[in-house]
């Protein structure tokens, strides 16, 4: 008998199936952008797209970290609070006169450290990620107000430069430093996921943790690593947030974890793990950004429509994932 008869599906059906969620997101994005351009003249301005990146750079970075966690089948509720805490700590340390570089290093260490501890609790004590990162979220948010009840402004030269520096073309279109940082993070993450053993182990564990273990993959190390990476991304996001707002505020980014999770899911990453791309997450963040921009342009629609539309999209994409049966388990 011929071997090809053993395959269950013709090969042409295979490829789009896996990429379908991402393609759906891409299509959605193009449709929404098309609507924007056809309805509002100003929408076709390139700067509109750049602004979406500028306004959502920190979200993108945090969503990249969340992509790692969700790919293993976990979840990290702490990211919004960790970002806020990072911004808060930076503002506080700068206020107390520490040099900018040192502040940057310290601020960037706190997030990964918390992520590492959470990963350890999840792995060694077998407590659900949901609960552990919930505690992490409480802790980080608590630290924010512990540092200060009020917003701390940042006046440091490095920070203000970073905040105001524009990288543009001669026609006046520009992006901020945050956008560049976000793109670097995206590229590094995409490389790690596609070309390193760590990245491949992330996918393997999300696909089937028992198999991964029997194949001799380092389950614990990888799990702890993804929460550490998520913490690092949240910290970078927090720094970008402080560039963006030039302050550390105790109540900033409340509920951001939901936007981040929504962006990752809309970007085609399956919440049960094992399937998804950083590129999809970029699209997911863009979808959220375009929705916000459209609603701003419209003027008659109110901001709460954003949430309703995001909820609707979440439903549509989860249903799509269910229908095409990406849940391998």
């Amino acid at each position: 008998m011929s071997v090809s008869s053993l395959t269950t599906r013709p090969s042409w059906a295979k490829l789009p199936r896996r990429q379908m969620p991402v393609l759906a997101t891409l299509a959605l994005l193009l449709v929404m952008y098309g609507i924007g351009v056809s309805q509002y003249q100003a929408f076709s301005n390139v700067q509109v797209i750049f602004n979406i990146f500028i306004d959502n750079g920190f979200l993108l970075v945090i969503a990249v970290g969340m992509t790692f966690v969700i790919l293993t089948g976990g979840i990290d509720l702490s990211v919004g609070s960790v970002a806020a805490m990072t911004a808060m700590v930076s503002a506080w340390l700068l206020q107390s006169g520490l040099p900018a570089l040192l502040v940057l290093v310290i601020a960037l260490l706190i997030g990964p450290l918390l992520g590492f501890l959470m990963g350890c609790a999840i792995h060694f004590f077998d407590i659900q990620p949901f609960i552990v990162t919930l505690a992490g979220m409480f802790f980080a948010r608590g630290m924010c107000t512990f540092i200060s009840n009020a917003s701390i402004p940042i006046t440091d030269g490095f920070w203000t430069t970073m905040s105001q520096y524009r990288i543009g073309d001669p026609r006046g279109n520009f992006v901020s430093v945050s956008v560049i940082v976000a793109f670097v993070v995206v590229l590094v993450a995409a490389y790690v996921l596609a070309y390193t053993r760590l990245g491949r182990n992330v996918y393997a564990i999300g696909g089937n943790p028992q198999s991964a273990l029997l194949m001799g993959l380092p389950l614990g190390r990888t799990r702890i690593a993804v929460y550490t990476i998520s913490g690092l991304c949240a910290a970078i996001g927090g720094i970008l947030l402080s560039f963006y707002t030039l302050s550390g505020a105790p109540l900033i980014a409340v509920g951001m974890e939901l936007d981040v999770i929504a962006a990752v899911v809309i970007g085609g990453t399956v919440l049960t793990g094992g399937s998804g791309y950083v590129f999809g997450t970029v699209l997911g963040v863009l979808v959220l950004g375009v929705i916000q921009t459209l609603i701003t342009f419209d003027g008659s629609l109110n901001s709460w429509w954003t949430k309703i539309v995001i909820g609707g999209l979440l439903f549509a994409f989860i249903l799509l994932q269910r229908l095409i049966g990406i849940r391998y388990k």
């Binding site: 053993l6 395959t7 269950t8 090969s11 491949r200 028992q210 001799g216």
Partner: protein, 513 residues
């Protein structure tokens, strides 16, 4: 084969778990370039032997020599590194990853620290070509059939320069063509000098592929035989054993003659019931007061038949009549409403609710049938529970203890009680005596006799032939997912005859009459 030296020698292996001696003084050898079948019924110690070999468990006594060195692996990974690779029954691959990646993950070829994908794909193709498998290595494993997945797992196993390849029931979910494909690859690997340890429940396959057979029973070695010198009947005898143990002492009670039982309308009659991949079409009638035994080896389709009767799985085809009326048994609720109860062989996963108490586990089926609004009054609960704790002598006799704290035998009795409380007209017992002590075993057997005397129909499944013979009025024999014979359990039927049927599948004609 005797001219070469064994690649693997296990001598005097013993392994105990608390309360159970899983292996006792077992010897096992494996020669390069042979397919060696490891045979035995449930609890014989096959999987324990594989696990001590691959280092999942440590051994209490004995020596394992691989090549020239004594080894004690810390786990499957270390074993694989030393050349002992295992492919498990449930394919252990990551379904979302590509074929190539599944073969190499954890030891991908790298260049400048990055995974060298072109090299991964090239080597995967080369490896699969060696296995004569021409598939797209970039497609996710999940898009291929189980057979291909199985072969991908084998490819992964042999890439680490395997000397010994353990295939643990690789064929249990493959169809005939897929099995052939797998065998071709096994022969090829054998010819390349790899020693293959093959565990299966399919007798036919053993005789088609294996060069040598080792039989285990109850954790001890029965013997090692060249396949050619061990007829199928002898193999079945060695696997099942003929020890007429303590159970024989159940006093023979006068039993109603089958002819009298079969006078009326059968309680349930199924014809040409089947389910793809589980069991070929079969027909069976069960009368009130009748004990129908299902004999056959593990994996022969016994459990699948039981599940179809109870609606635990849906049948693809076939008709069911209950008390002469056409009926539908498409889910457990329907079956229960028709008066059918089912004790699963898988007590832990499909039977007990470990958190709940003995009482709650017992009344669960009855309560489910009544609906949650009509709670069984506490007094009635106490009556029922006390009655069955006494009748089945459940220990400890504490209805409020979580059932997970009970021993296996007592859990089994709790499940029996769960169904007896619903006063079923047909009780399906799938391996009710497996893994429980002799005393409890005898009690359960006695109970089956009592129940059938009281007019209940029983479908009784057991791997122990003696038990089936002793209890059943008639016996349906299963072989390789097919019901090959219906035997009336009269004086002409004995263990030998049933074993012969299991071994050869003859009397098929009789079955179709």
């Amino acid at each position: 084969m005797t001219d070469s030296r064994p690649v693997l020698t296990m001598t005097g292996i013993s392994k105990s778990f608390p309360g159970v001696r899983a292996l006792h003084d077992v010897d096992f050898r494996l020669f390069p370039g042979e397919v060696h079948a490891l045979m035995g019924e449930n609890g014989a110690g096959k999987s324990t032997l594989i696990k001590v070999l691959t280092g999942v468990y440590g051994i209490d006594e004995g020596v394992i020599i691989l090549g020239d060195e004594q080894v004690a692996f810390s786990g499957p990974m270390q074993a694989a590194g030393a050349g002992v690779s295992t492919v498990y029954q449930e394919v252990n691959l990551c379904p979302n990853l590509s074929v190539a990646e599944n073969i190499f993950i954890g030891r991908e070829p790298r260049r400048f620290g990055a995974v060298h994908w072109a090299e991964v794909r090239r080597r995967a193709r080369a490896l699969l070509t060696r296995l004569d498998l021409d598939i797209d290595v970039t497609a996710p494993v999940a898009s291929y059939s189980l057979a291909v997945q199985q072969m991908v797992a084998i490819a992964r196993a042999i890439d680490v320069r395997a000397q010994v390849l353990i295939l643990d029931e690789p064929t249990s979910s493959l169809d005939a063509g897929e099995v052939e494909q797998l065998f071709r690859i096994m022969r090829q690997l054998r010819d390349e000098g790899i020693a293959i340890l093959f565990v299966t429940h399919f007798l036919d396959q053993v005789y088609r592929i294996a060069d040598r057979i080792t039989v285990l029973r109850n954790g001890t070695l029965v013997g090692e035989y060249p396949t050619a010198e061990l007829p199928q009947l002898a193999l079945v005898e060695k696997m099942i054993g003929k020890d007429l143990d303590v159970l024989e002492r159940i006093e023979e009670q006068p039993r109603p003659e089958l002819a009298t039982l079969e006078e009326g309308t059968p309680f349930v009659e199924v014809s040409q019931l089947s389910r793809r991949g589980a069991v070929a079409p079969f027909s069976l009638t069960i009368h009130a007061g009748e004990v129908v035994g299902l004999a056959g080896l593990l994996g022969s389709g016994r459990t699948e038949v039981a599940r179809l009767f109870f609606g635990a799985d849906r049948a693809d085809h076939g008709d069911v009549a209950v008390s002469g009326e056409p009926a539908s048994l498409r889910n457990p609720v329907q079956a229960i409403n028709q008066g059918i109860g089912f004790c699963s062989e898988n007590r832990r996963a499909e039977g007990i609710i470990p958190d709940l108490t003995v009482r709650e586990n017992m009344i669960l089926a009855m309560q489910a049938a009544r609906g949650w609004l009509r709670r069984i009054p506490r007094r009635r609960q106490d009556e029922l529970v006390d009655k069955y704790i006494k009748a089945l002598s459940i220990r400890p006799a504490n209805p409020d203890m979580p059932v997970r704290n009970l021993s296996g035998g007592n859990q089994q009795k709790v499940l029996l009680a769960r169904w007896l409380i619903t006063e079923p007209r047909l009780l399906i017992l799938d391996e009710p005596t497996r893994g429980i002590d002799i005393g409890a075993k005898a009690e359960i057997q006695k109970l089956v006799v009592q129940l059938s005397d009281g007019g209940m129909a029983v479908l009784f499944i057991s791997a122990e032939l003696e038990e089936v013979l002793r209890l059943s009025h008639k016996i349906a024999v299963m072989r390789d997912r097919e019901m090959v014979a219906h035997l009336v359990n009269d004086d002409t039927v004995d263990a030998d005859r049933v074993m012969q049927t299991i071994a050869t599948g003859t009397q098929r004609e009789e079955a179709n009459q």
